[in-house]
Symmetry: none
Amino acid sequence: MENERDNQAPKKAGGRRPGSGRKLGTGNYLEPTTVLRVPVSQKLVLIDFLEAYAKKQRAQSSRANLDGIGEFEQLPEALSKLDISLYQSKVAAGFPSPADDHVEKRLDPNEYLIDQEESTFFITIQGESMLEAGLLPGDKAVVDKSKTAEVGDIVLAMVDGEFTIKTLAKQKDGNPKLLPANSSGKYTPIIITGEMQFEIFGVVIGSFRRFK
Amino acid sequence: MENERDNQAPKKAGGRRPGSGRKLGTGNYLEPTTVLRVPVSQKLVLIDFLEAYAKKQRAQSSRANLDGIGEFEQLPEALSKLDISLYQSKVAAGFPSPADDHVEKRLDPNEYLIDQEESTFFITIQGESMLEAGLLPGDKAVVDKSKTAEVGDIVLAMVDGEFTIKTLAKQKDGNPKLLPANSSGKYTPIIITGEMQFEIFGVVIGSFRRFK
DNA sequence: ACATTTTTTATTGTTACAATAATCAAATGG
DNA sequence: CCATTTGATTATTGTAACAATAAAAAATGT
């Protein structure tokens, strides 16, 4: 091994490599790390937060490196399946980033709100008649035409040519009535009689809104 | 070493003490800990969180004030696309039949509710403190961590280790306060003082729920 | 009986380490 | 001469280990 020059050149690459080696700031966070002692119950919470933080850092840096470069990224599939991980935490123990027990479910608002896409549509709430059911003006009500309405359901009904959203109830005589959810007295129940045109168009199975 | 009785008693206290020693769960968090590697820039943030967590654990009994928070739900990956008819006519007053030539928009709840996936997660509302803002128990609040909170926004904040959802307001002295949206008097504003640990984690930009 | 000392064990911040990953230089091969 | 492979080198990263401290109970002293 000592006389490396007596015969043919070595078959293997060798020698010093000054200046080589992994570069600083090439880790997950693009910055140095340190260790921290944490309660075990919060470890996964914190890991989740750190993952989100790392993702954000990397996204920012890649955006910064983007200038001048054309994109060549390719979207996987046009209509991708919704796959939102949902981390459930029990109580208020948690972090900005979720995941307490790391009991992991997947929640997709679309899936959560919609059972059958083909029979579902949305309606923007206008009045305050269902205020106490949590339907405020501007809310989008999710209406499913395929659902069978039962007493107590919030339904989209047409009464004498007018659409309304109310809670379905029954009169003593068996005819339906439509109840507002507003105790102010400004809205009165709609009593359906035989002469009235009445049709239930669908059941309000959910709602959503934007605050900001 | 077995015959501890053979000669004179030792001058110093000695001998085995079975059952002695510090008890388990007597640390800051009342639970075991582990080490975690974190980016240095987040160390103080995490320490702040851990202090609040420890404080909360130690004061385990007192406040059941965490009304407003249920579980965290996060949505990391790709969101599904959806296009469903939105009838934006008025519901309470004369609504065109869905079979009509209705004005119709295509609306995707996911797109409507979420601006930035990577900074958004969901929380299940628990108390009734935000009832009059239309947030009922069981509703999913859409929280965006990347939004800057302004006075009047509904925010997810941590106060002394407890998460809460309230409306952000300001005191005369400039310090923040958190207002419930419930006039019943059961919920009182949270006045933030200098000694309190306070952090805003995100802005509630929307909500959604299922009725059925 | 009460206070003090001793022993024991958990906590806790930090350091150390080993396995991995990233990166460049040299070697190799066409 | 250029592209690819190999090897060396250094950062990253999860975990183990350590030492100093804290807490709790037994043993001892007064």
